[in-house]
Every structure is written in C-alpha cells, then in structure tokens.
C-alpha cells in the first residue's frame, strides 16, 4: 500500500488516539511536575467606631493574575513524586533506619499509600495470572472431553463471569460473602466463629479479591485453550500413541507444546488486565484493607478536593510500571521482527 493511501486510511483513528491517549499522557507528566497555586492571602485592617480589627481575605485579583501568569501552577519539580503520598523517600529512609527486622520494615512500608497500593497490585497480578492459566486449562480439558451435546450450554455459562461488568460481577459475589449473605453464613457456621466477616479482615479481603479475579478471568483462558485444543493435530497424537506414548506422555509432548504459544498470549493479556485491578476494590469497599494503583488515582480524583497533581504523579508511576512489565514482550517482538 502506498504511503499516502495508508496515511489517509489510518488518519481518523490516529487522530483519536493522539488527542485522547497520547496528549493525556503528556498532560499527566506536566501536571505531576506542578502544584496548584496557593491563593494570595492579604490581611486587611477594618477600622470602625469601635476600634480596628484585623481580618484576612483572599485577594482575588492577585490570585487570578498569578494563575494566568503560570497556568500550570507552581513548578514543583520532582517534589510530588518524592512526597509521602508517592515514593515517600524520606519516610522509607526513616523506616529503613528505624527498623531492626525485615518484618518491621515491611509493616512500616505498608503504611505508606503508594507502597500499600503497589504491594496489593503486584500480589494480585502475579497470583491471579498463573491461577487463571491453571484453571482455564483444567476447564478447557474437561469441556473438551465432555459429550458434544452439552458443550454449547457449558460454554455459555462459562462465558458469563467474564462478560459481566466487573463492578457488577464483584458486587454479586460481595453480596454473597456478606456476613448476612449465603456464602458468608456458610463460612461462619463452618468456622464456628460468629464474628467472622470478610469486610473486617485484611487477609480474607485479599483472598476474596483474588478469588474474584480468578472467577472473572478464568473463562478467557478457558476459551483460548479450548480453541487451541480443537486444532491439535490428531495425526501427531495417533503417531505418538502407536509409538507407545501413554496418555500423560501424549499430553506432555504433543498437547502442551501446541498450547504453549497460547499461554504466552494469555499471560500477556492477563498481566495487562490484572495490573489495572480497580472495580472490585470499589465494589467490595475494600480500600481499608487493599488498594491498587488505579484505585489510588480514582481516590485522588474523586471527592470535593480533586487532587490533580497527586493523581497525575501516581498515573505517571503506573505508566512506568506498565512499560517495565511490557518490556520483555516488546524486546521479543522487536527481535522477531528484525529476524524476518
């Protein structure tokens, strides 16, 4: 295709992505380097018949002048990145000096909002992703060996947890594990502890969020593996059988190598999706026990005081993490492309 035709064909979607994905990226970088202006406060003396009183007021004109002079706000450099809400360099240093054991140091780090969010985000990503692959594979193998007639309905119900709106799916599970819900009551009677509540316990909340993550994403791995299983070469399988391979050996040496590229694909998609874990934390009202990077940005942006600079700084750090996460994939793709 000629350069010119290519240009006209991709122009509309390029424009959309430039304006609403690329420019916002620039915007968060700029925002994270500036803080909003303080209002200019002046003190005025009011003198009346009963003497003079001092009062302070906002000098609107001066504030406006300051804002129009520097529309981005006051240049702060890397200050926002280093403050307590983000990388918290000073606090980490103190914790490092003040704590005797690793355990103590870790506990202190978890009190800092950024590291708290980071620890859950990473745990969630790296626990859910392998579990999704494992369960997805098991379900795919099971469905594949089921009778043809029931496969359609099986696939239909399997798709539901993935198709459902994340916020809504998490709510449905949350209502069931509520202390007054069906699963919650079952847990209480099983453990014999009437005060057991997912809402009140950090480890239980983490487990519940991870359970939700696996429930939501396992269908994706299932569908991909299931499609892969349909294309396993039956001649190879038969040849292996004639050569005396047992069932386990046939799976190990024929089926698994066939599915390996699919596993890379699933792992890549899952890493990207799990890293942005956000809606379940809102649905489970879990923020006291578990926060994620996305939730931290949401929290800064919401409410009466929109802390744009703080949100922007967290966003920049998130983007950096995403790029680090994707680097191995990008390098591999680049090498593959160079070889062609």
């Amino acid at each position: 295709m000629k350069h010119k035709t290519f240009f006209w064909f991709v122009l509309p979607s390029t424009l959309a992505m430039l304006l609403f994905i690329f420019l916002p990226l620039i915007s968060i970088i700029v925002q994270s380097l500036y803080v909003a202006h303080d209002q200019v406060i002046v003190s005025v003396e009011n003198c009346g018949p009963f003497g003079c009183t001092q009062s302070t007021m906002v000098d609107q004109e001066a504030t406006e002048a300051l804002k129009s002079g520097h529309p981005f706000g006051q240049f702060a450099g890397a200050d926002i990145f280093l403050d307590r809400g983000h990388l918290a360099v000073a606090e980490v240093g103190q914790a490092w000096d003040g704590s005797q054991t690793w355990r103590e140091f870790g506990a202190q780090m978890l009190n800092l909002p950024f590291y708290k969010a980071m620890s859950f985000t990473l745990t969630f990503t790296f626990v859910v992703t392998p579990l999704v692959i494992l369960f997805g594979f098991a379900i795919a193998v099971a469905v594949n060996s089921a009778v043809k007639v029931v496969r359609g309905p099986l696939i239909f119900f399997s798709l539901l947890p993935m198709m459902i709106t994340p916020l809504v799916g998490a709510l449905i599970l949350f209502w069931m594990v509520d202390a007054r819900g069906i699963v919650g009551t079952a847990l209480i009677s099983l453990s014999g502890d009437p005060s057991l509540s997912v809402k009140a316990s950090t480890p239980l909340m983490w487990i519940m969020l991870i359970v939700y993550g696996v429930w939501h994403s396992a269908p994706f791995a299932f569908i991909v593996y299931y499609a892969g299983l349909q294309t396993v070469n039956s001649d190879t399988l038969e040849a292996a059988q004639i050569d005396g391979a047992s069932r386990a050996q046939r799976i190990r040496y024929v089926v698994v190598p066939h599915l390996l590229p699919l596993t890379t694909f699933i792992a890549l998609m899952q890493l990207m999706d799990n890293f942005r874990v956000f809606e379940p934390i809102v649905s489970f009202a879990a923020s006291a026990h578990a926060t994620s990077l996305s939730w931290a940005i949401y929290n800064d942006l919401g409410g009466e005081t929109r802390q744009l600079s703080s949100a922007a700084a967290t966003s920049v750090l998130t983007v950096v993490c995403i790029i680090i996460l994707l680097t191995p994939v990008l390098i591999r793709t680049w090498r593959d492309f160079g070889r062609k």
Partner: protein, 293 residues
C-alpha cells in the same frame, strides 16, 4: 473414534465430571441466586438469622403479603430514575460502537495491507496504549475538560471511549483483514479501482463477520466502563454502571440495598441475551488474536 485405545480410565471421567460440576456451580449460581433474591425484601436476601429465609421468603410474606415483590425494581427504575441512566447507556453504546467501528475498519484494513515497517510500529504502540489503565488517562483529561467546559456531557464521554477503544479494535480488525486474501482487492485494483474503491466495493461486502465480532467487544467496553463514565459524567448524565455505584454510596438505608440488587439484575439481563445470541462470534473474537499469533 471410540476405540478401546482411546477409552478413558474411570478416574479421568470422574475428574472431568467433578471439574465441570464445580465450575458450572461457580459460574452460574451467583447469577441465579441474585436474580432470585432481587424479588425478595432485604430482610430475606440479607438474613442474619437464617440463610434459608431467602428461599422461603418469610420476611417478604410478612412485609408485602406475597412470595415475590417488585419493590426493588420499582425503587430503582421509578424512584431513583434508573431509566434515564439506561437511556444514557444506550446512547453511549450506540455511538461508541458505530463510530469506533468506522474508524477501526479503515485503520485495520490499511494496517493489514501495508508491508512497511511503520505499520508494525503502529501496532506495537497501539498495544502499549491498550495496556494503559483507563483511569491514568482520565487524570490527564480532567484539567483540560474543566478549562474548556467539556466536563459532564455525554458526547465527551463518547469521544473518550471511542479513542480508548481504538487500539483493541485496530488489533482485532487488523488480524481479521489479514485473513481476507489480498488477491481480492488487488484484482479489483488491476481492473481500475483505486484503493478506496476496492475497499468500498470488494472488501466491505465480505467484512461483516469480523466487524460484528469487533462491534460486540466495543459494545462490551462501552457498556461495562466504570472508570471513564464515573469521572467524566455529571450526576444527571450518568450511565448505568456509575449509577449503581452511587446507589451503594448514598442509599445504605434499609431497603435501598435492594434497589442496587435489582439494578444489577437489570444491567446483567442484556448481557445474558447478548452472550446467548452471539456466543459463536464472541468465542471466535477471543481466539482471533491468539490462534493467529
């Protein structure tokens, strides 16, 4: 093929049945349970005393006189104006799907036909964009939208969702167009069409299966979105998902939790129908990227 060599040992059959049974329970039961519970009162669906109350509906009978009650639905749709939110969601989905498909087909087609290196880099950058959490972009929009008075309106959210949708749509349609043989449009060009005419007369008539699949996923993204719509829409313009979230925040008084339960069921119903009708397309769409690499 049911030869003796292929016959499964009993333990394997048992394993299959157990896995499928447990999985079906996990996948389907939560939905059925919530659907059932949405017709009860709060005292039954969230029963401290006895979980079986949700089945027998003791409180529902004593409070409303019947086994089932539509009070939750009445509260959500009539009292809280969920209908307006449903209308907004419909508008958002309609525009997002049509516009992002239009842009995506043009771009995806060009990317599948170009053999230059920049087309490859274009796709890689799109992949990176696809990986960014939506909420990071939202914090980039807010100051600009406030400044130009664009915040809170439906069209703003629609444009943003279209743009966020582009990387995924481009990837999916690109791999789909790769499967349409090049000879098709090239022979049209030999016959004197230019590139756009070839696309218009030869490719468009055969592209619908792929476009429908990509459209389904665009629809899902727009319908399921929470991060963008909750941050960029004012209270009057909310779509369904942020509306449900606001039920949770503000109306925790007795009985109003059931508004949220009924709203959740109402949101899920269209998705059910969609999966039922388009199961085949969804499965093919999910595997398109994987099987072709």
């Amino acid at each position: 093929m049911a030869s003796r060599a292929n016959q499964k040992p009993f333990s394997l059959t048992l394993f299959t049945i157990v896995v499928l049974g447990v999985w079906m329970m996990l996948a389907a039961f939560p939905f059925l349970w919530t659907l059932w519970g949405s017709f009860k009162v709060e005292g039954d669906f969230f029963s401290k005393a006895d979980w079986a109350a949700a089945l027998t509906g003791k409180m529902t009978v004593s409070e409303t006189g019947g086994q089932y009650t539509g009070a939750g639905y009445y509260g959500a749709w009539v009292q809280e104006g969920f209908g307006k939110a449903a209308m907004n969601s419909t508008l958002v989905c309609l525009f997002v799907v049509t516009i992002s498909l239009t842009l995506g087909t043009l771009g995806g087609y060009a990317l599948s036909r170009s053999t230059y290196r920049y087309a490859f880099w274009f796709l890689i950058i799109a992949l990176v964009f696809r990986a960014l959490p939506q909420i990071t972009l939202v914090s980039g929009y807010l100051p600009v939208f406030f400044k130009f008075n664009m915040w809170g309106h439906l069209p703003t959210a629609i444009i943003v969702l279209i743009a966020i949708n582009q990387p995924f749509t481009l990837w999916m349609l690109h791999s789909f167009f790769k499967n349409i043989p090049q000879d098709l449009d090239e022979s049209a060009m030999v016959d004197g069409c230019n590139r756009f005419q070839a696309f218009r007369h030869v490719i468009i008539p055969v592209m619908w299966p792929g476009v429908i699949t990509a459209g389904l996923f665009s629809f899902l993204l727009a319908y399921n979105d929470f991060a963008v719509t909750t941050m960029l829409l004012s209270k009057e313009n909310q779509t369904m998902i942020p509306k449900i979230a606001s039920f949770l925040g503000t109306t925790q008084t007795k009985g109003n939790v059931m508004f949220a339960v009924s709203a959740v069921v109402s949101v899920t119903a269209p998705l059910f129908v969609m999966v039922l009708v388009f199961q085949r397309q969804i499965v093919s769409g999910l595997t398109a990227g994987a099987v072709k690499g």
